[in-house]
Symmetry: C2
Subunit: 224 residues, 2 copies
DNA sequence: GACTTTAGTTTCAGTTGGCTACTAATTGCC
DNA sequence: GGCAATTAGTAGCCAACTGAAACTAAAGTC
């Protein structure tokens, strides 16, 4: 028995459900809306004639008070059926919001909570899991981590952002070597002293063209 | 002016559109339906209460006469608007069918055509492009190529299948080395003599568990 | 028997990636 | 001032991986 059914409203043929993620206080947070005791992801009924991505951006603005630095559609979820609007199908999106932008005016009932205590169930739990998975794979294809940092940043901050998003630690020397080889950042002539320790040089995102490699096949991830 | 609008029928809120791909005669083929002069992908209106994947499987069976060896949802497409059923949204699926299975009884107006001469336009052209892209990335995560071969096969056949699906040549020694390292196949004691040349040993797909590696980040694919 | 064709292996060199260990520059504390 | 602690950044080693070329092996063709 879902909310929409209880209310007696006709469920829309599909809804747009949004996973907004943000790095806050060293942990990945997700924006949820609370309806009394139950938590759910922000969702909206589609407006006819409006592009899906546009609807999702509007939804983000309405609930988080800001537009995501990066957003992408996951796919359409039909299972499990448990959904706050009783929509048979949810078209799900993931987006990221920088820590600074989480200070924006939130929508009614919306708040940022740490991933671990999102308290979702049913379809929304599945969507959240898929969202994090997709975000992590997209880190290698889109400059998502850079969008979550100020325009200049230290390499330690960048590495920290990657670690927070991925959820596991990275090796400092290797991280910097790969970054160097990819010509993605360029040093500024500024340095930042952050309390203790040697000051760090500030960098800016400044990708240059490189030849695209990659030929062989990897079988490593191919489970049975 | 689309077909559904011309016919005066009410378009469904969303349709399920299917890209079926198959290796035939050394080239990747796609299943299209022809409506007089215009070609389009197989599509169907959703049945309420039916899971999306189930609907898509039914659609495959109806049009290709067989169920795909592998199938996955792409995502929901809203743009471009041009669609044979005038559906505002298409939930798209990709599936693959082995060459042998393309001999099944095809649906009305359906036929296999080489990718290059699919002759699609509008939303279906976008869906086809996305389908091939997704298939190629999934080759590293799902045993798709193996599903398209008989239960025993030579390593040259396997490599040929990968090359056909990927669309570019692979290096023989490297291919076999990677395969070896992944413990994915095991040799049978049979050999096949195919006209000229040394007979090839037959292998079967027989994946064993391996430790999952992967720690660092790759920046190689991260364009500006 | 020599040539061609396909299968399968070996070797080599260049690249990558993780690890340890180092140097450098700053703050805090005595 | 001087030394420990802390953070930034680099250097070198080694094992693993990859692409290319060159090799051996086994069949058919002429």
């Amino acid at each position: 028995m879902t909310a929409a059914v209880r209310r007696g409203t006709t469920p829309p043929p599909y809804s747009i459900d949004l996973v907004l993620l943000a790095p806050r206080e060293g942990a990945l947070h997700v924006l949820i809306e609370s309806d009394g005791r139950t938590a759910h992801l922000p969702w909206g009924a589609p407006k006819s004639g409006e592009a899906l991505l546009t609807s999702s951006r509007q939804l983000a603005k309405r609930t988080a008070g800001t537009e995501p630095g990066w957003m992408e559609q996951l796919h359409a979820f039909g299972d499990p059926l448990k959904h706050p609007a009783a929509a048979p199908v949810s078209i799900a999106f993931v987006g990221v919001v920088s820590a600074a932008a989480t200070e924006g005016r939130l929508g009614d009932k919306a708040r940022w909570v740490p991933m671990a205590s999102a308290g979702l169930s049913g379809r929304h739990a599945a969507i959240l899991a898929a969202a994090v998975e997709t975000l992590r794979t997209r880190l290698e294809y889109a400059p998502i981590a850079f969008k979550l940092l100020p325009s200049t940043f230290t390499l330690s901050e960048l590495q920290g952002m990657y670690e927070l998003l991925l959820g596991w630690p990275l090796h400092k020397a290797s991280f910097r070597r790969s970054l160097q080889a990819a010509y993605l950042v360029e040093p500024t002539d500024e340095w930042r002293s952050e309390g203790r320790g040697r000051p760090a040089q500030l960098y800016r995102f400044s990708p240059r063209k490189r030849r695209q490699g990659r030929r062989g096949v990897r079988f490593d991830f191919l489970g049975g």
